[in-house]
């Protein structure tokens, strides 16, 4: 009897998580479309429901009801398994991501390790999807995804490591609780930036949306998928986006903590604080999407290996020094900010040196005078 209750509990938990995540994804879709619309001076969805609020639901129904087209050359087993291989890891990491104090399915001591380990798995799904589709664009996209995700895994892990060192724990509850005096973003702005950029690349969002790049490989690994199977990829993508935003909040922005908030209220109010912070981070991701062009794969790789990896090592060394010598926190943040600013400065200086190239001359034959107009 207790076994049945136990299994029932577990199943309902999984279903609850699934429902919750689906609701979050639907809201994200709406927020993204609305936000992008406003950036582009459009209104975004307006027809279904008030302010188009039900548009994602309509989309979901459409996707599920859509015919699943299957090209005759696909490798069927791999083709059907690939969406799950992408979706399950992104779903599994939510087991240990807390949304408020003690509101978590399973609080693991190795939580961060677990999350990192699981999120890497989705590469397999992407490559498998690309390979099984028997489509050249899909293959290209799949390999792009593999290269991109593997190389950005390293700075991501390194940035997380800095936080783990500071908190002396891999437990997310613990990490957040450690931030009650100051959030780690203040101590490690460098780490935050590395984590955020690498995270963007991990979830394949602009400016790193190289594997699904619509204008080049027409959707990459997902090009042959349609209907419900495509929507699983879609779901996974948005869950990952949400996860990266949530991790940014938990690791660097103090999770559910808010100055002036203490005592028993934390648990309940914390949920709202956590979601507010997460949605803010997500808005920044969408803002980037509305602004930036896409990098090329080789530029992405050189940016990852030549900039982010060294920077993340510097970050770890810095954190180590901070821990070992017991520097005051403000010194750490000053050093971190200095490094950040100097990197910015160096890059823009390099840009400025070649800035002369970036002009076009206005040529006037009569007076044959050439004036700059850059």
């Amino acid at each position: 009897m207790s076994l049945i209750i136990d299994v029932g509990m577990r199943i309902s938990l999984i279903l609850g998580l699934l429902t919750g995540l689906s609701v979050v994804v639907l809201s994200l879709v709406w927020v993204e479309r609305k936000f992008l619309g406003r950036i582009q001076m459009r209104m975004g969805p307006m027809v279904v429901g008030p302010y188009g609020l039900l548009q994602p639901v309509a989309d979901a129904i459409k996707l599920v009801a859509k015919e699943d087209l299957l090209s005759p050359w696909v490798d069927r087993i791999v083709y059907w398994v690939a969406p799950l291989a992408v979706f399950i890891p992104s779903f599994m990491i939510w087991v240990t991501i807390p949304i408020s104090r003690d509101i978590v399915i399973r609080n693991m001591d190795m939580g961060l390790f677990y999350i990192i380990a699981f999120s890497v798995l989705s590469i397999v799904g992407l490559v498998a999807a690309g390979w099984a589709s028997s489509n050249k664009y899909a293959v290209l996209g799949g390999f792009r995804a593999a290269a991109q995700l593997i190389s950005y895994e390293i700075p991501l892990i390194m940035a997380v490591l800095g936080v783990a060192m500071l908190a002396q724990s891999l437990n997310l509850q613990e990490i957040v609780n450690q931030q009650d005096t100051y959030v780690y973003a203040l101590v490690q702005p460098l780490g935050l930036l590395i984590f955020f950029i690498a995270g963007l690349a991990e979830i394949g969002r602009t400016p790193f949306d190289i594997h699904p790049a619509e204008s080049e490989v027409v959707g990459g690994p997902f090009v042959e998928y349609s209907g419900a199977h495509w929507s699983i990829f879609f779901l996974a993508e948005y869950i990952n986006t949400f996860a990266i935003a949530a991790l940014t909040v938990l690791l660097f922005l103090g999770g559910w903590l808010l100055p002036g908030l203490s005592g028993g209220a934390i648990t309940t109010v914390g949920i709202f604080v956590f979601f507010a912070k997460t949605y803010l981070v997500i808005l920044v991701i969408f803002w980037f999407r509305g602004t930036y062009p896409r990098l090329r794969i080789d530029q992405l790789m050189s940016f990852g290996w030549k900039m982010l990896v060294p920077l993340s090592f510097i970050n770890i060394i810095l954190t180590g020094c901070y821990m070992f010598y017991g520097w005051p926190a403000w010194l750490m943040s000053i050093i971190s900010v200095t490094i950040l600013v100097s990197v910015f400065w160096l890059v823009s200086k390099r840009m400025n040196n070649t800035k002369k190239e970036y002009t076009v001359h206005i040529y006037k034959p009569e007076s044959s005078e050439v004036k700059n107009a850059g």
């Binding site: 582009q40 050249k136 790049a213 896409r294």
Partner: protein, 373 residues
């Protein structure tokens, strides 16, 4: 170099990727068969002709007035420029004077059309590079231009407004005022695109030194228009062989330095500014008077042949027309600017990445309606 040695030792297999005709960024129905080695393009085989309607052959069976509608549909983003060059060809053949006012209105509208075309280019180029917002901004501004076209010519794209001997009818009364407010808005919108895209580091990384076309190569291939000028060759028909009334305006020709994608992009952006200045000057000088020299509807130009050149947004358009004295031309041949510009694609693409292929193709700004005719 080390990289190349490794590449030689590795036994890689080339993959043929069929890009187009149904690909989001081949700008119409253009198809390239790319032989790729990983992400690197080894060989390109361009295929055109999916939109071949035999326009030139059709011209042989239609009377002169009807041909204007065919020219509208060649380069469907710069209709007025096309109409103008055909009408100039017939006028030259018939030795027809065009009233002053009609010339001015033609120039204003053609420049406006050029601006609209370049704005669309900036937007779609942004899309090719992966930025989705510039296209929306540019469509917003282009929409204003098209509204004005609608008010003047009655149509948003296929105008049939420039007629042999002048223009269809005079501009509406509030034209001047609407133009001036439009110019202000266009300037603002252009600045926005400039700030958003032109000097964005990612955009620069994607376009700078990509698809470099040397001046020599450009001339050999007969590339014209902004793509030629981006390579540093200052040839602009409006300046070198001024037609209509272009010799009355003070404007410059934007010249690029290296001829890469960024230059081709920025030359066009700068050209919009020059066009705006032309429009402002033309509006100030706009005289009163007739708008059309009346001709018979069924024109019978004398025997002879003409070649008329004009500067389209995409390059130099030429119309070679042979008349045999009847009401239909004996032969009409168009020099399509995109056709010549597209010829370079094979040389430009080899040894670049797939992502660059899209950017390079976008930077050439082709219109397949004109390439295939």
């Amino acid at each position: 170099m080390v990289d190349q040695d490794i590449n030689k030792k590795l036994d890689t297999v080339q993959m043929m990727v069929n890009m187009g005709p149904q690909h989001p960024s081949t700008h119409g129905v253009f198809r390239m068969v790319l032989a790729v080695d990983g992400e690197r393009i080894v060989d390109v085989e361009p295929h055109i002709g999916y939109l071949h309607r035999g326009s030139e052959k059709l011209c042989e069976g239609e009377i002169y007035v009807q041909i204007v509608t065919l020219f509208d549909r060649l380069d469907y983003l710069s209709n007025l420029n096309n109409e103008m060059v055909f009408c100039r060809a017939v006028e030259k053949l018939m030795d027809l004077e065009v009233p002053e006012r009609a010339e001015y209105i033609r120039v204003i509208l053609c420049e406006l059309n050029r601006v609209a075309s370049h704005l669309l280019f900036i937007g779609t180029f942004g899309l090719d590079v992966g930025a989705m917002t510039p296209s929306m901004y540019m469509f917003r501004d282009r929409e204003k231009i098209q509204s004005l076209f609608e008010a003047v010519t009655g149509a948003r794209m296929m105008h049939n407004y420039i007629r042999i001997g002048g223009i269809k009818n005079d501009v509406p009364e509030d034209f001047d005022q609407r133009m001036r407010s439009l110019i202000v808005e266009l300037k603002k919108g252009l600045e926005e695109a400039d700030k958003l895209l032109s000097f964005n580091e990612i955009f620069l990384a994607r376009t700078k030194n990509i698809g470099t076309m040397s001046a020599k190569m450009a001339i050999e291939y007969g590339v014209s228009g902004p793509s030629l000028r981006a390579s540093g060759v200052p040839i602009d028909i409006r300046k070198d062989h001024p037609y209509s009334i272009y010799d009355r305006f003070d404007f410059g020709i934007p010249i690029g330095e290296v001829g890469d994608c960024w230059d081709r992009y920025y030359v066009r952006l700068e050209e919009v500014r020059q066009s705006i200045s032309i429009m402002e000057q033309a509006l100030d000088q706009l005289p009163d008077g007739d708008t059309i020299t009346p001709t018979r509807f069924l024109l019978r130009p004398p025997k002879g042949e003409v070649y008329v050149r004009g500067e389209n947004p995409r390059g130099e358009i030429g119309v070679y027309m042979i008349s045999d004295g009847t009401d239909k031309p004996y032969r009409v041949k168009v020099r399509p600017p995109s056709f010549c510009n597209l010829m370079t694609i094979k040389d430009l693409l080899i040894d670049t990445y797939i992502a660059d292929a899209v950017v390079i193709l976008g930077s050439l700004d082709i219109v397949l309606g004109e390439v295939d005719r």
